[in-house]
């Protein structure tokens, strides 16, 4: 939800904001901010970095499609990517009219697109981080082990800083989660009924670590808990608003709570 509201200008952002307006009060757990930074914001910063380092939109597109480490690989609607690639290829030598004689390479279509997208992404990322605590009526469940830090621009690249929590011993949420092993058990049971995808396997492992003695809730496990945190900490009379309704609804319903899509 936070990523839609802040990182996807246009219809997606409007839908997210309108959904929030349906409620008298909206609460944003800091865990959402942590997930937002480690997930969508990291991907955007990666794309921004590619634009900076290649200086070419066409080369960036190739990286998006081919790079095995691309965080976007296989997750973006391919038609959108193909349309962009086709446009970039078709126009790679197109100049801004006769401006190339005056401004050189700066005026080629590839350089102009690259710069326009870079500047746009930079603004989207910076505004998103600046407004992260302004999308809801309040921010709740502060995490003592998570330093939100600042997002800055350094040598042209966007530096997100720390994206995980940094506990001295273990994640600050662990103690609260261990107080109600029966809730943890219900969530494990709900996930077991879901498709056995990687995300669910890791979530069950993280939940299991809470009920086993001697196991710590590490920053990695904390991140794997993901939607389980939202279901657990959602107040009983509230609704979890999420774009990931398929994963969250079974968890919420197992605890007698509600989850809705925007």
């Amino acid at each position: 939800m936070l990523a839609d509201a802040l990182l996807k200008p246009g219809p997606r952002a409007n839908a997210a904001k309108n959904a929030l307006r349906r409620f008298d009060e909206s609460l944003l757990p800091v865990y959402s901010i942590k997930e937002f930074k480690a997930g969508a914001l990291t991907k955007y910063a990666w794309l921004h970095g590619k634009l900076v380092t290649t200086g070419s939109w066409e080369k960036t597109l190739t990286q998006l499609r081919n790079s095995s480490m691309s965080p976007f690989r296989g997750r973006w609607v391919s038609t959108a990517l193909e349309a962009l690639e086709a446009a970039a290829h078709q126009n790679r030598n197109v100049k801004f009219g006769d401006l190339v004689s005056k401004h050189g390479k700066l005026a080629t279509d590839d350089a102009v697109r690259c710069e326009r997208y870079r500047l746009s992404l930079r603004r989207i990322i910076m505004r998103a981080w600046k407004k992260r605590r302004q999308t809801t009526s309040s921010v709740v469940d502060e995490l003592s082990c998570y330093p939100e830090g600042d997002v800055i621009e350094e040598r042209g690249l966007i530096e997100l800083g720390e994206v995980d929590c940094c506990p001295k011993d273990e994640c600050c949420l662990a103690a609260e989660l261990r107080r109600h092993p029966e809730i943890v058990k219900k969530m494990k049971a709900a996930i077991a009924l879901q498709p056995p995808k990687d995300e669910n396997v890791k979530r069950v492992q993280a939940l299991r670590s809470l009920t086993r003695s001697g196991q710590k809730l590490t920053p990695k496990r904390c991140r794997h808990l993901g939607d389980a945190i939202f279901a657990y900490f959602c107040p009983p009379d509230a609704v979890v608003l999420t774009t990931n309704i398929a994963d969250l609804r079974p968890l919420a319903e197992a605890l007698g709570k509600k989850a809705e899509a925007p």
């Binding site: 246009g10 997750r75 609607v77 959108a80 801004f96 401006l99 746009s120 603004r123 910076m126």
Partner: protein, 202 residues
């Protein structure tokens, strides 16, 4: 030029007239006020002022640093940008006047003339990311408008940000972000439509 002033005369070899200006001013017509800006072909470095400064007839001594406090002031794109921004501001003002007179065709004509200035303004983006951010936002706004004439509030917002940019062409990207908010607040999209579609396709 009168000798009683201390203005240094520009060397004539740098004073080529921009062809656009000539085309715009037909014989017998009064030259529009917006065309008085410096020509892009004029090079400020042509000024014969030494590093140590020069003494005018009144004994005033100006160093280069005082005349041009920022090194970028020497750049060709700075001069081009100022010239084009002057034109762009003039266009928005004329569009507003035409809209006030209910002449929407005239208003749209001026807006079209503003729109075609933007690609070259974007080529002046070496002035800084703040400059690039604002021009990119205006280009995107027009792309999303898809040929529709912006309304009076939107033209006024464009006029406001263009004036800011002319006053502060070296503004930072963060400062520019705040000014782009003015465009967003009147319903103009500051991002390229195809990028928005791409980012929303996940």
């Amino acid at each position: 030029m009168a000798t009683s002033t201390n203005i240094v005369e520009f060397p004539s070899r740098g004073m080529e007239t921009h062809p656009d200006f000539d085309a715009a001013v037909e014989s017998g017509q009064k030259k529009p006020p917006e065309t008085v800006a410096a020509s892009s072909r004029f090079d400020v470095r042509d000024l014969t002022i030494s590093e140590a400064g020069t003494k005018g007839p009144l004994g005033l001594r100006l160093t280069q640093a005082e005349l041009y406090p920022m090194r970028q002031a020497y750049r060709r794109e700075h001069i081009t940008a100022l010239r084009l921004l002057t034109l762009a501001i003039g266009r928005t003002q004329r569009a507003l006047n035409a809209a006030a007179a209910q002449d929407m065709v005239d208003a749209d004509t001026h807006i079209q003339k503003l729109q075609v200035l933007l690609p070259e303004l974007f080529c002046c983006r070496r002035l800084g990311d703040g400059f690039g951010t604002i021009i990119n936002s205006l280009m995107s706004a027009f792309e999303v408008l898809s040929g529709n004439t912006p309304d009076v509030r939107q033209i006024r917002a464009m006029n406001t940000v263009l004036q800011v940019l002319k006053e502060k062409p070296f503004l930072s990207a963060d400062e520019a972000d705040d000014h782009v908010d003015v465009l967003e607040s009147v319903g103009l999209s500051p991002y390229p439509a195809e990028l928005v579609e791409f980012l929303s396709s996940e």
